[in-house]
Symmetry: C2
DNA sequence: CGACTACTTGAGCTTTTTCAATAGCTGTGG
DNA sequence: CCACAGCTATTGAAAAAGCTCAAGTAGTCG
């Protein structure tokens, strides 16, 4: 029940999260009071591909990325996580993790062991349907991403990416107009399936047209309407020759 | 338990499937004996996007495709299903389906209502972990697809697609060297995120190089080794100028 | 302060798409 | 049994989108 209500609310404020984790500690009074919360630094690994599946994590603060690795070593980022997101759902299959997870900044997570999950699921109908929902939701996200990747050009992908971030920040009570990109351009490019130079160029283009303002990691969405319009048509199509200096 | 063992085994033969569905009928002797199996014709819909989530289906025979639809009406195929595959897992989130599902040929499915699933999950630990596995597996598949879409060129994608099909047919006891493509070129192109002409050109190219033989819907993999090699390097790179007539 | 990493920008090149034309297959009806 | 319509697939040529390479700038960390 705890894991799930948390997932649905996408809470950012620590109070919610702590309440949840506190509830969890009450639930299984065994010995994981100290293990249930862990803090990690930027670039550190939460999960490595191939790791044994011990349980799932709820991101408490900070942010993280998940990626899969091909035989030739190339990596593909499959998700970015923000507070309240559940990490490690890919481990139920085969009891091993397929994805690796690294933090993008100093972050903390709350751990739920497989045993805890199992008993939660069997004792609480809400928890069960909640977990199924969470996984189902992750599937939907992936599908949306697949759709975006194969049916959109670079500009549309970047626009979609920014709007997604905006939505997620808003859901967490943060500003949806101005936020810090916790991932590098390289991460963004990888996630969106394009070259880093292309990301850079599109940022520049959007900025020149007054749709966003981007300086280093700080991003502002100046014109959400136009940004949303980018999802449909390409900028150059809509502006019939603008490119003002 | 029944749904799951079936998923893991990926059985193609009807006996296995029927046994499973029979087991299921025993389990809930209510009134769904007649509703549990349904037959559909080619192009008919099993699920439309937005449909209320009633339960999940196990494909019994035939094949199907799932796709999501963007605001502008463009569709993106997200999965192909073969006997034994579970359909409809995206519905747990929001109690509505995001994906639509259409059959590629005359097919039959076995239905498990949400109620049945719930009681199965709470009474059988195996069933629970099995369902979680199935969903987790679907996530992994999606991630693999994401990886392929953004890190491979067209040739590698087509090669991967054919090898995947081959593997899935083999798992179902069918030949992994020769099979019928139940989907159109358009479907393949859509799934792989490329133009239909590109699919056609790559098929031609692979055939000219003696790697596959393709006539209409019948496909033969003549040289699996080379096809696998296509996943790594492009054909033209490996053949240092061949293009024999 | 220097090395390093992250980011931006330009130019040529490659891949893939788009457009257009053609051919083949399927099913229907005369 | 053939002809026709409609869908499916192949092929070529031109155009576009995005990638790679290369160089340079700007923050960041020790």
């Amino acid at each position: 029940m705890s894991i799930i209500s948390l997932y649905q609310a996408h809470p950012c404020n620590c109070c919610n999260m702590l309440a949840v984790c506190a509830k969890d500690r009450q639930f299984s009074k065994s010995g994981l009071t100290d293990r249930s919360h862990r803090v990690f630094q930027r670039k550190h690994a939460l999960i490595d591909s191939g790791d044994h599946f011990a349980g799932i994590y709820v991101l408490h603060s900070g942010s993280a990325k998940a990626f899969v690795t091909a035989q030739d070593g190339t990596e593909q980022i499959t998700a970015f996580y923000f507070p309240g997101d559940i990490i490690g759902l890919d481990g139920f299959d085969n009891q091993r993790h397929v994805q690796s997870v690294r933090f993008l900044e100093t972050s903390s997570v709350c751990f739920f062991s497989a045993k805890e999950i199992k008993s939660l699921m069997q004792n609480s109908e809400g928890a069960l349907s909640g977990l199924l929902k969470a996984m189902s939701h992750a599937l939907t996200e992936d599908n949306a991403m697949l759709l975006a990747l194969s049916n959109s050009d670079s500009e549309q992908r970047v626009a979609k990416f920014l709007l997604d971030l905006s939505k997620r920040y808003k859901a967490r009570g943060c500003s949806d107009k101005e936020f810090i990109l916790s991932m590098t351009r390289t991460d963004i490019a990888n996630y969106l399936g394009m070259a880093i130079e292309t990301v850079s160029r599109i940022f520049t283009k959007l900025q020149k047209n007054g749709i966003i303002s981007v300086a280093h990691r700080r991003l502002q969405i100046l014109d959400p309407i136009w940004l949303k319009a980018c999802l449909q048509t390409s900028l150059t199509e809509r502006l019939t020759g603008t490119t003002s200096s």
